[in-house]
Amino acid sequence: MTSNAATPLLDIRGLKTYFFTEDGVVKAVDGVDLHVRPGEILGLVGESGCGKSVTSLSVLRLVDEPGRIVAGEVWFEGRNLMALSEAEMSHIRGNRISMIFQQPKSSLNPVFTIGDQIAEVFQVHQGLKKKQAWAEAVELLRLVGLPDPESKAHAYPHQLSGGQAQRVMIAMALALRPTLLIADEPTTALDVTIQAQIMDLILDLRARFNTAVILISHDLGLIAEAADRVAVMYAGRIVEQAPVRELFAAPHHPYTQGLIASVPVLGRVQDRLATIPGTVPNLVDLPPGCRFAPRCTARQEHDLTICTEDEPDLLPVAEGHRVRCWLYAPQPASSSPEGRA
């Protein structure tokens, strides 16, 4: 089924990934703590550029120049992934932890058949011979619902549709039954009807193999349906974490509230769509204090000064529910009411 309260499968502590560019140091991930339990689906939500993808790439240590992981530990199956050699990491990728990406067609190498590309996973990790690996690949294609897998295996990526290509990616990712799958916006680039099919496939396979999933998306509806727990990211930090129902029923962080409020609801008459005023901060030149402060209406309403001076920690507000906001701090620093705004 889903979660159990045992030791987490993946435990990210204090992850910091910075990009050292000509224009300055971009602090894409600036102190992220996350954990995923065996078999659970963790939703990672946020706007574009908030650091969700960089976080997942950091887990697999696939961050390239000019980016670098500057701090943090990622504990997986008893080992700190940040301390492993490149050779050891490559044993883990595709094998114990897999990843699928947003653009499935361009994630496949255009000059090799899809059969070859799937078989490659078996050849590299399990040392299978070409014929055997190919047979496994065909079986996988059948498993993910591709019709006529024997001949499809000889196809080239450009001959597939987006949905088919994503199925192929899923097949490759789950080939060796990894314990963790990172799905970075897996359905964003697909048509709406296909989106549902792909999500069903992911959930179905996840149930079958008891794979934990980090589901990254900016689509709240998707997260609400699929995730067990949710973490909300903003400007490189986690600002709220909660079980999914709790988050949607009682969002505490002003940003989360804004996000949820901005999703239009069918049937409800609205003259204007709700938006969060302002824009995402420049990650090179971050303001001191809470990163959301410039856009936070709650701060203005409660006339808080501490928000622009000091950054809050992730504070517990309920069982398994934590928020990074001064509104919920135990000792009010200046005039601020307790409880929710």
């Binding site: 824009t279 410039p294 203005q300």
Partner: protein, 307 residues
């Protein structure tokens, strides 16, 4: 404490493409180096009479005690002060090599710019007509360009010079003719890609003539690749002109052209290497400058790097 959210400052003043390009260009290392060398070369070309210790055509026999093809004499490096200084030595006709190399800058820069200008003008005309008119006109012109490009450029240039006769002018014409197809293709490609766009149809609806559309709307878009290609074209034009002169088909002695200097003395390379080394080095530095500049321009104009 203000209540308005502090959105990042947006500069609404439109910055033209040229200014952006110029600024990007200045940041490119290759453009910096290339531009610096080019400035130095232009300086040398302009001030050659001042910089050169001797007249490039002056035969020194009888005026100084020098031997034919004498090795360089540099006072700073130990050559006795009584001997007249010739930094790059003396050539086979008792002339000062250094002065000739300096004056050669003029010839080479002239060669580069005139050939490319001619080729760009001719190529633009052909390419624009070809691309815009389409149909059989396009076909004929492009076949002609294909035929021209089917010949290795130097060989074709040699053949043309053979027809027209030796000499620097004819060599320039030959090189210009041989270079034209490249520019024709560049312009044609730009024209083709823009011909079917809405703003062309809109202009037609407003009554603009074909010529007007071509000149004011379409061709300006062909400028960036033309500029890049042209700069690189100067580099290869200088190389080709030097090659023709080397073979005796271009600038004739006693004109101080680097290729000619190399050509006349090539058989003496083992006894008088300085006669070969310095002119060739000059060619290389000059061509390198234009290549670097062209590369820098290409990177600066790369639409993908637009921020």
């Amino acid at each position: 404490m203000t209540t308005t959210p502090s959105a990042p400052e947006t500069d609404i003043r439109p910055v033209s493409l040229w200014r952006i390009t110029w600024r990007r260009l200045l940041r490119q290392r290759s453009a910096q180096v290339g531009g610096a060398i080019l400035l130095a070369l232009v300086f040398i070309a302009v001030f050659a009479p001042v910089l050169a210790p001797y007249d490039p055509l002056e035969v020194l026999i009888g005026k100084e005690d020098v031997r034919k093809r004498e090795a360089p004499c540099i006072h700073l490096l130990g050559c006795p002060p009584e001997k007249p200084q010739h930094i790059m030595g003396i050539d086979g006709n008792f002339r000062d090599v250094f002065s000739r190399v300096l004056y050669g800058t003029r010839v080479s820069l002239f060669v580069g710019f005139t050939t490319v200008t001619f080729a760009i003008v001719a190529g633009t005309l052909l390419g624009a007509i070809s691309g815009y008119a389409g149909g059989w006109v396009d076909n004929v012109i492009m076949r002609l360009m294909d035929v021209l490009m089917a010949f290795p450029s130097l060989l074709l240039a040699i053949a043309i010079v053979a027809v027209l006769g030796r000499g620097l002018q004819n060599a320039l014409l030959a090189i210009a003719i041989v270079s034209t197809p490249v520019y024709a293709r560049v312009v044609r490609a730009s024209v083709l890609s823009l011909k079917e766009r809405e703003f062309v149809q809109a202009s037609r609806a407003l009554g603009a003539s074909h010529a007007h559309i071509l000149l004011r709307r379409i061709l300006p878009n062909a400028l960036p690749p033309l500029i890049v290609q042209g700069t690189l074209g100067v580099a290869s034009a200088i190389l080709d002109a030097a090659a023709l002169s080397f073979l005796g088909l271009g600038a004739q002695p006693p004109t101080p052209e680097w290729g000619t200097m190399l050509g006349t003395e090539r058989n003496q390379v083992f006894t008088a290497p300085h006669l070969v080394f310095f002119p060739g080095l000059a060619i290389m530095i000059t061509v390198l400058a234009f290549n670097l500049l062209g590369d820098g321009l290409r990177d600066a104009l790369d639409p993908r790097l637009k921020s």
